[in-house]
Symmetry: C2
Subunit: 313 residues, 2 copies
Amino acid sequence: MQDSSITSIGIDFGGTSVKLGVCQGPDLIQMDEPIQTAAHPGPNALISEMAARVAKLRLSHPAIAAIGVGVPGLVDYDRGFVHELTNVPGWKHIPLKTILSEKTGLPCVVENDANAMCYAEWRHGAARGLRNVIALTLGTGVGGGLVLDNKMFRGSCFSAGEIGQMSIDCNGVAGHYGNLGALEKYIGNNQIAEHALQRYAEAGVSKGANDCTPKAISIAAQAGDEIARQIWAEIADWLGTALANIAWLLNPDAFVIGGGVALAGPLLFEPLERKVQSMLSTVVWEKLQILPAKFSNEAGIIGNAALAADALA
Amino acid sequence: MQDSSITSIGIDFGGTSVKLGVCQGPDLIQMDEPIQTAAHPGPNALISEMAARVAKLRLSHPAIAAIGVGVPGLVDYDRGFVHELTNVPGWKHIPLKTILSEKTGLPCVVENDANAMCYAEWRHGAARGLRNVIALTLGTGVGGGLVLDNKMFRGSCFSAGEIGQMSIDCNGVAGHYGNLGALEKYIGNNQIAEHALQRYAEAGVSKGANDCTPKAISIAAQAGDEIARQIWAEIADWLGTALANIAWLLNPDAFVIGGGVALAGPLLFEPLERKVQSMLSTVVWEKLQILPAKFSNEAGIIGNAALAADALA
């Protein structure tokens, strides 16, 4: 598992494009041009294009020994089987690992994208060397992944880590599954924007949707806008409640937080630390770290490449 | 790990008494008289009495090969070191494993009591053979333990499983650590009684504290008391929110629920199943079981004996 000299390919399969890169341990040594998902409709065409890219990359990197693919949906990791990708038409019940292995002759692993991001941060990123790590990506949705006792933890049906669906309020707003108080319904990008519009309206300040993206609220807060600072404090309260719940349950070493919302930096992390500390015992808090992610867009490539390399050992 | 032929002693160290028994696999083959904690003040006297009891039990069971002790407090499992037992005077910073091993010449393990209960249910009880199991004990407080990927999960500082401290309401009642919405503050025995008194008062029904224990509310509900049934439904709502949160995070095979409150049986479990299902996706719900504990008062003895036996392998 600890051999970082293996060269492997990481593939990050998103809704609009598929990104590929060659990695050696923590280093992304070559990026390829992204594949446009829509240009290769259906699994067969897209997997063939992935295999063609792998063949091309092997010409310049003959040491490539494995492939890791991360996908935005539910995966059976053991079989490398994609159950369904909600946002990619035609991707349902696809034995991706088997097909890609056959086409390339290389061993493959297939993982959920949030798990791959967590693995990247634990193996080579912000939480390197820590035993119990919870990673979150904050964006339109809130995803999560868990490394427990130095191993990716996937749960009984490979569905662990759905932090965005956890409830922070038993009487709260219903989430996608009717789950009252779902975190995602408070700190997803769109919900932050709606909440900000409402807070400004209450204060009699006229703002448009463009003034209420997480980025715009960060800029406003940094410029001294008191309402914007309060919005970040509220986000920290909601997120902090969820992190404290996870900490009571799992007593981890670290949370790693990535995704667009995390770019707010100290505006988010400072009130977040205070909130989480206020909710925990000394024992659970004292060694707990709340860390910004090291990787951003490349997290998927690095995480999937690392999963593939480590699966060889 | 799977050798159930080992004979071991389980010791269940509670606030008022210490219970001991000899186990072989799932079978508690001999119980000893409990030791009264108060009759042996201070760790030295109590550990000496434990060792004397062990020596006595070995006369009739010479095959005894190990000792497991469960304690009501924070333990470093690896070192068998008791950090502190809040309800037992003088028990602070005690190397229990070392002392008891020296006095008896047998290998020892020392575990937190909720973890031992979880281990008993996973190893020999309601959740036997399942991979990911979360156990809860509902009483004055709400304790918990986790078996993940077929291993006891203890967290980074041996504090995992504090389910009673998890928040079900980010604006709720403060728990012991200032943690708003702490589950224990909703479904602990005393809180259930207070809540029931209030519900009856609101309905203009005069009740005393004795009519509002979990047991009394169960009897009333079974006799057709509509308010009592509603109280159980509310308890199920609160507990269900916490279970759903854990299920989204860990995607376990089963919850095992023990302790006095769980004796309400279908009054609790039926609305609880409905609530948890209403909060989850099909994938997370479909294989999830919510099980009453198999063991009651003997759970600690069986769990600690099993931990000790399995540690030999």
